[in-house]
Amino acid sequence: MTLAELPAAIEARGIRRIYAARPTPVVALDGIDLDVPAGEFFGLLGPNGAGKTTLIKILTTLLGPSEGWARVFGFDVVRQAKQIRRIMNMVAGGEQSGYGILTVREQLWMFSQFYGLPGRDGWRRVDELIELVGLEEQRNQRVSTLSTGQRQKLNVARGLLNDPWILFLDEPTLGLDVSAARALRALVVEWQRAVPGRTILLTTHYMAEADELCDRIAIVDRGRILAIGSPAELRRLVRRESIFRLEVDHLDGGPAVLAGLPGVVTATAAARDDGTAMPGADADQRVAVNLVLADDAALAGVVGALGQLGSRILALRKAEPTLEDVFVELVGRGFDEEAVDHPPDEVEPAPAVPPSAHGPGAPEAREVAR
């Protein structure tokens, strides 16, 4: 099957998911429309509770949607779950799951059998994967004795057992140290690139991770997609604004005091350039601030205000927007203000989404032209 003949890896329309929680039902997904072509590395970026895991559960046939429909490689998630399960796998981070009494090899082999690998192929594949994820030394160790990172490697190996067409990764690097996370990212990228058509849907909180890995990203908040595009396209969303990185010797009241100034779109704490500490937390009181300004002219007001506050500017430079800026702008500020700030002519609505799908008065997702 050539790539062109493959149906979309993910196609979702009007997905809503409501949990019957007490005291009030929770709307976890509120009208998700999504198209992910085969072969794409797609990211879902959003704050806690945005609905990322819920969407993954629906696409992996673990949970039914309350409304709407979704297809994975053309198969309906409700009616054709069997087919999807043959070509899909998932890995979630930060989990303490596993049959503690089995060894690494045994647990993987068990799953190879659930996926229908013939016995000998199963063992061979298990050993290949153990090597691939770097668990050779633990291969005959009990799962219960594995460290968090090793468990996650085992989890990833399980996720690759059936050589899925699409792999769902729900915060796969959660709880991993820097080098383990880097190794895991390299592994999944390499795996995905090895065969055209292999698709990955990743959720993450780490902007850098999304930026580095994803062909396209959807920014999600409160069950809705706020924007979709490649990292570069998303960054362009805030380019018309000026972004400055400011470092001052001290700032009474923190970055918030700057947020109210005229022309200041957002003022948020940033990690200092030397990366030594989070702002304000250390004795020397230096503070680093990410400033998003409506235009460069607003800078004069900020400098003046800093003078009045008695803060001395240590460094100031104009910065390229990062995904974090996009995220802060889209999510941090709430969408209602957003809609006012950006008149409709600047916002290209996603063509496949009829406004009625969101209900009356609901905001549109921003589809960035590719």
Binding site: M1, T2, G64, S97, G98, F114, Y115, E128, G197
Partner: protein, 317 residues
């Protein structure tokens, strides 16, 4: 990396997604998945690693339960009670099999969801969920069967039960054991479906259900002593016919589970005691009905669990 860009499952091969994959491998795949689940169930039974615990649970418990019942019946019933020895020992022995089988299946849901947190991964694998659960429960079922056999052997050797291999009705015994096994698995599936729905720990449900079936299926006393309406419930339970079949096959002269003067069976059929053919047919019919009911309940339960997100919901953290 190149090792992973395989054909269906092999090492080297085409570097495209293989459309064959969507089809799946039919019976062979199902058998493989079942056998792996059996091994999984076997391995996760921690008791295996401790022979002492294993002995307590699978041998000492059923044997002592049978002996206690025998003593009780004979204190209450005197000489008449003595005639019931074979009856009581078989009932009690087989019942340990019932409990082990039903709880083995139901507990595999709870174990995998609560303790190992792997139920979601079993569920989203292409293998049949029900089949995996049956596989997971097979180890306990097997141990239950061993316990039952040992209890019977103790009954014959220690209590001198009149078991004469020459008079045993082997065909009836075979039919009854197969039918009974199916009935136990089916009830286990039913309980697994119930446990899938519960948010709280429901470890005791299987034993509670087995306990109530114990009363109506003639495990320790003939159905005839029960009120007519309750007898009817008993007659609709495949376990009743399984017990009746095994008893009639092993001890042809012993008391009948279902028949007797004025019993519901006598009123319905006009004969005092069912023949082996009656028993086989009744077991088949009630077993088939129970299977249909369990299949329907399981489907409903799976559907509802997916609607409500119960498959990976733990009661704890």
């Amino acid at each position: 990396m190149s090792t992973l860009s395989g054909s269906r499952w092999g090492a080297a091969g085409p570097s495209t997604l293989d459309p064959e994959r969507v089809r799946g491998g039919g019976l062979g795949d199902a058998l493989r998945a079942y056998l792996a689940a059996v091994r999984l169930g076997w391995a996760t039974e921690a008791n295996w690693t401790d022979p002492f615990l294993f002995f307590i649970y699978s041998v000492a418990k059923p044997v002592s339960a049978a002996l206690i019942l025998v003593v009780m019946v004979e204190i209450v019933g005197g000489e008449a009670g003595r005639a019931f020895r074979g009856y009581v020992v078989t009932g009690s022995a087989l019942w340990s099999f019932v409990i082990a089988g039903i709880s083995g299946l139901a507990w595999s849901v709870l174990d995998d969801r609560e303790r190992y947190r792997m139920l979601r991964y079993l569920y989203v694998s292409p293998a049949s969920f029900a089949l995996l659960l049956v596989g997971r429960g097979t180890a306990r079922l097997t141990v239950g069967a061993m316990g039952a056999l040992i209890t019977l052997a103790v009954g014959v050797v220690v209590l001198g039960l009149p078991l004469d291999p020459g008079r045993v009705d082997w065909p009836l015994l075979g039919v009854a054991m197969v039918g009974g096994l199916v009935a136990i698995v089916v009830i286990g599936i039913l309980m697994a479906a119930v446990c899938l729905q519960t948010r709280q720990d429901s470890w005791s449900y299987p034993e509670a259900v087995a306990g109530s079936l114990f009363l109506v299926s003639g495990a320790v006393f003939p159905l005839a002593v029960l009120p007519q309406a309750v007898q009817l419930v008993g007659l609709a339970t495949p376990l009743t016919w399984w017990l009746a079949g095994v008893r009639l096959a092993l001890f042809p002269d012993g008391p009948s589970v279902v028949g007797g003067e004025g019993s519901a069976w006598a009123l319905l059929s006009g004969s005092t005691a069912p023949t082996s053919v009656d028993i086989a047919l009744a077991l088949l019919t009630t077993g088939a009905l129970a299977t249909l009911a369990a299949a329907a309940v399981f489907r409903w339960s799976e559907h509802r669990a997916r609607e409500r997100g119960l498959i990976d919901q733990t009661s704890g953290s």
